[in-house]
Symmetry: C3
Subunit: 240 residues, 3 copies
Amino acid sequence: MIEFVLVHGGWHDGSCWDDVIGHLEKAGHRAFAPTIAGHGKAADRRVNHAACTASIVDYIVEKDLRDFVLVGHSYGGTIIAKVAEAIPDRISRLVFWSAFVLLDGQCLFDETPQNVAVSEEGARRSGDDTYLPPFEAVRDSFFNTVSYEDALRYYQRWTPQPMQPFRDRLDLKKFHGLTIPKSYLLSLEDIRVPMPDLSWHPRFSNRLGRFRFVTMPGDHEALFTNPGLLAQKLVEAGRR
Amino acid sequence: MIEFVLVHGGWHDGSCWDDVIGHLEKAGHRAFAPTIAGHGKAADRRVNHAACTASIVDYIVEKDLRDFVLVGHSYGGTIIAKVAEAIPDRISRLVFWSAFVLLDGQCLFDETPQNVAVSEEGARRSGDDTYLPPFEAVRDSFFNTVSYEDALRYYQRWTPQPMQPFRDRLDLKKFHGLTIPKSYLLSLEDIRVPMPDLSWHPRFSNRLGRFRFVTMPGDHEALFTNPGLLAQKLVEAGRR
Amino acid sequence: MIEFVLVHGGWHDGSCWDDVIGHLEKAGHRAFAPTIAGHGKAADRRVNHAACTASIVDYIVEKDLRDFVLVGHSYGGTIIAKVAEAIPDRISRLVFWSAFVLLDGQCLFDETPQNVAVSEEGARRSGDDTYLPPFEAVRDSFFNTVSYEDALRYYQRWTPQPMQPFRDRLDLKKFHGLTIPKSYLLSLEDIRVPMPDLSWHPRFSNRLGRFRFVTMPGDHEALFTNPGLLAQKLVEAGRR
């Protein structure tokens, strides 16, 4: 039995893991999926990266979770790196699923230069410094393995993303020295970022030093588009 | 129901899609596979790239096809780019399957420098400016997923390729500004060109700007070696 | 029916192919798996690369094997290149499975710079110029597709590797001119070496010139972790 803490990516909240958790539990595992501060419906979106990290740390400490696998998806990779710095002894393994692994001093926007202008313009117009891309801008790049109707249905689960956590430069010196075992899980049809080489692996995986490599067919939104397979691969990535 | 216009690659003709069309029709779709001018058995091979493009445009206009998915395979990618410039409003989506995507001003030979000398030498000897590589030169690189006997059987469907369309430099300024949705379908065991990086993706896919990425196991000749799976993936690449 | 000679990689011996041979024989093929001199249990480990190659050549000549497919795994790729120089006329095809293909004048350590210091330190401490990495150093990078328990069980088949064959620079001028057909079989989840690009293909495959490309899901130790699929893919890589 593995215990997971699942940290969602941008535009998502904890409920986006519901189907994955169902599959994990059916296989005898246990999983928690907190919503990052400032994310999800009806949240106060005035958060920075530090507040986001603190909300996940608080969740784990309050529940007194120990010996769990900490999973970060996409932008969630930047969160779990800082969570791991705060409470390394509670974590048995870090799993980065199609996730950003930032270098010391970077912010997320440093790795998505092609998105900065449109995101910042959207944030200015939003009134609350958030951005939600229109469906037509993400149908092909995020939901490429499913029909238009399914893609639209999953997209409707998205909520506006606070932009400040994408701008905050992170001190990651401690993270890059941590000896917690690490895995990189790659969705093979996921090419959203980064330009120009279009690939998560080896660009980000390689920054982990020694890591376990696990792959699966699928796109960036496999938690919606193929939750059963994702659950199975999280077990392969997360086990001892 | 999707309507497809399938544009073949070098050494092929429209009949090479026969098995794929069978699978598409069984799944409720409709497909046309014109033979490019100068290609196939008994054709007059004195064609340039413009004549090739015109023959496909004429086919579509004569049949008054509209709202269809235009697929290009390999060299066919250079044809559909120019067809799309001529009749953009008729096309709902462009699908490049293991296909060349040329930059403005390039010719196909610019992307296969390793093949130019042997192809030009063959063209000189042919008497009609065509080239057909011997079976042993292509068995491993084009038909790598099937037996020798099957590879030989499929190779016997090939006909000599006019070389002028590989030399013609293309004005593609309009193509690179078109907003028609685009997909790139990659056969994962296809490594024929280009040297030196051996990969169609991201070298060519990346030139499309925003695109839907779809992959399948298989080789460069999957229209022969795995037509059922190719048909399924053309639907995933071509749907709305 | 194909006849195979299977040449193991570092830390392995001929018996590591047992399960693969079972699957090959069940499919009607025949396979030999000699142990390289200086490798396996109770061997005299004072060998250099030339002695390793000679032991495989002697095995083949003594059995008078002809018209066989010669397979090299990992470090075994450096052995089969030299074996092919010695007895090219006996070999119908060379298959490199997640194997090193060295350039003329290189040694294996040239392609694994990240491993040299720890390997040499281990060799100094060993007393017999060998090195065996601890399980925790290889669990994630070699056995990434299986459970901890299975990984440990397979690791216990490993024996200390003589280091001199990794240091010997090889004259490979003749090899790179050989016209024996070649295949490269890639395990897709195998990312052990080389840094920094983490990939066997196209780094090593590309050095073969024309080759047949075959892939399979799996890790670097698929002869343990998925012998049935490996046997099937060796047939696809090795057939005419």
